[in-house]
């Protein structure tokens, strides 16, 4: 658990360090079935639930589909970059095109309570863990 630091910059630096450290994490083992690596996804844990954060700037919400099932999430859509006609392009660094990515998680989700929010180019998926998936304590007689 990340505890609240008195110095906000320390917290930021620690977050960035942890993100770097987990770039080679095998938490998902070989379960990420994807058609292509775009878009890059960060997965966080908040208590029992999972939060997936994806950077997709400039997407129209009509061009984005999210599907949730037991333990998979599928994000598909089209990122388009529109230029007016008759312009001369000096530099082109933004990517655009169609993407379709499926993420298989090692926990079961509750698809009815999945929430998605798209703001400022960030798509945040709140994935609550299914009740049946949570461990239950067993009393000893």
């Amino acid at each position: 658990m990340i505890t609240a630091f008195a110095d906000p910059f320390e917290a930021l630096l620690n977050l960035q360090r942890e993100l770097d450290a987990r770039l080679a994490s095998d938490w998902l083992q070989d379960l990420t079935t994807s058609r292509g690596p775009f878009p890059p996804i960060n997965v966080f844990q908040q208590g029992d639930d999972i939060l997936a954060i994806i950077e997709l700037p400039g997407i129209d919400s009509n061009d984005l589909q999210i599907q949730a099932k037991e333990n998979t999430i599928r994000i598909s859509g089209k990122k388009s970059v529109v230029y007016p006609n008759r312009v001369s392009v000096h530099r082109r660094e933004r990517v655009f095109g169609e993407f379709d990515r499926t993420l298989t998680l090692p926990v079961n989700l509750d698809p009815d309570r999945v929430k998605a929010e798209y703001r400022d180019g960030i798509l945040a998926l709140f994935l609550p863990r299914a009740e049946s998936d949570k461990p239950r304590t067993i009393k000893i007689n």
């Binding site: 917290a11 997965v43 700037p57």
Partner: protein, 132 residues
């Protein structure tokens, strides 16, 4: 484009500045598209996670500086499990030619995409010459 190529993921490029920052945070260069039409030069920058209030655009000595700050409070209490990209503030600078009217630069921000319109000064616009 007729053929469907798979989208490539671009790793974020870290900013290499000549001066050090006083804040111990990582800064990345946002992806930019630059295109030109008759009246203006347009620069489009992708800064996901930055909202309008956290963008700073300034012109100093003929250099256009663009900065975007991320709000890290949303990440409080989150434990990273699997990450594919890093997050940080954004900054990029462009030197402007004297053909740009520096006092008429307009900026617009939507969904993490910043659109900067740099209008050209009158003398730089193409003019057709009439043949008598």
């Amino acid at each position: 484009m007729a053929s469907k190529q798979t989208l490539q993921v671009q790793q974020k490029r870290e900013l290499e500045k000549k001066q050090e920052t006083t804040i111990p945070a990582r800064v990345f260069m946002p992806n930019a598209d630059i295109y030109e039409d008759e009246d203006a030069l347009t620069v489009v920058l992708e800064m996901p996670g930055v909202d309008k209030g956290n963008v700073e655009v300034s012109v100093e000595d003929g250099v256009l500086n663009v900065g975007g700050r991320l709000d890290f409070s949303k990440y409080q209490g989150l434990q990273p499990l699997y990450t594919e990209y890093n997050i940080g503030h954004y900054s990029r600078s462009f030197s402007l030619s004297n053909k740009i009217a520096q006092n008429k630069i307009a900026a617009e921000m939507k969904d993490g995409v910043l659109l900067l319109k740099l209008p050209k000064i009158e003398e730089a616009k193409p003019r057709t010459i009439q043949i008598k």
